[in-house]
Subunit: 139 residues, 4 copies
């Protein structure tokens, strides 16, 4: 059910260790997550127009093999939990050697513009249904 | 009339050349400009609450001496043009040796949330007055 | 001779005005420039392995129409000046309506790891030749 | 033993939700950590000159209360684990109301320029000693 999001490492994302700065993986994860949602007809922009925003509750990344400038990562993203109030994604970024560069997960909640919790099931039943269908089966 | 804004270069702002990535100076300029406005009782937050935002019209930076991680820059910012519709700032960033690291300028306009031009003189006369008083004298 | 580099605006690149922060265009320009060089067999990574790096001398961006999250820009990049010591690029970013979102230019020099000028013609004649062939004709 | 690092939220760090983008806290944590090390005579720059770099092994942030543009955070950083091969830091960021904005932790290892593990005890005994002295007592 997941998506593989391809992402080339930019020069400005490297640091003086000569590798992609660790903070950028959190941004790569966001790109992968939003690509996954967009591709699956769960458009965050539409939801925001209805007054629902999706801040992060947490974010975690573990770094395995450094990524160099110009390397292309395959970032696999999967929806591993969703109940209408929160959703969780897990990520695995592999370089072109097939090595795992980074793994991670992020948790998100649905809130209104005052950052009060919103039930997505009530706020947008169609979105809720479409997103539910993307949930990974329990292993 | 200007302000000297002190700014230490962060590790995540370096790139694999071992120097601060050039895009970050545009951000340093913004920090200096907003510090200058805040210190002089021209608070951008208040203006935004009144529905006036201040996007960039342009931005320019020239790079002289590279900045390394942990170096502290003295960024001098001055308001060099203001007429109620647009404002221009110029910047000079010096390192602790007194060398010029970068210079630049930015131009800004005042618009409403639809990005339509706003006359600051009408939208907020007090802000207009306070900002006018900060304008550098013609040389 | 130029290249059109496609780039989707990321969520983390927006600011509280709801548009792509102006500093990010400087980064988009870099992405476009490095894609142009890579596609044309002028690989910056190889040059860096030979001890030649290419810092910015300056950077300029002018902002026309704001870019929103998820919009895709067509960024046209062209090599407008090159003499073995410096190179200049110009950029035009258009959104999917065909409107110009931003224009700009950047100037770069070739230096060694001590940031001393290097003649690319001597340091890497092949690179020099290949890059020369990409220069836009005088208008 | 910890340090309180003060950090004002920059405009360019906000996103279109009107709050500091979650990825930036990972950068704030880095700033706080490096300030802590610098203040305590454990200078990362010196260590890098000796060929020892300190990449992240992981990074975690939990977001409690959103941070707005121009808010000042007090970021408390503490060294919670260190054995010469790895070090772990924990972070608590509070806003000026005393509310916790974010918490987190990061794990780091010491490697050479080939990203091979280095024993800090052997590579720089003085640094090892000084850093050991900063370790939080077991609770």
């Amino acid at each position: 059910m997941g998506l593989i999001y391809k992402r080339r490492a930019n020069y400005y994302e490297t640091d003086q260790m000569g590798i992609v700065h660790h903070s950028n993986y959190i941004r790569y994860f966001e790109e992968a997550r939003l690509a996954f949602m967009r591709e699956n007809n769960c458009d965050v922009k539409e939801l925001e127009q209805k007054g629902v925003i999706i801040p992060n509750v947490d974010a975690y990344a573990r770094y395995h093999v450094p990524t160099r400038f110009d390397e292309v990562l395959d970032i696999e993203v999967r929806l591993t939990s969703f109940n209408g109030a929160k959703m969780e994604y897990t990520y695995t970024a592999r370089n072109q050697n097939g090595d795992i560069a980074a793994t991670g997960h992020t948790l998100h909640c649905f809130v209104n513009s005052d950052f009060r919790p919103v039930s997505l099931r009530r706020a947008d039943p169609g979105f809720y249904q479409r997103l539910s269908a993307l949930l990974e089966p329990e292993e």
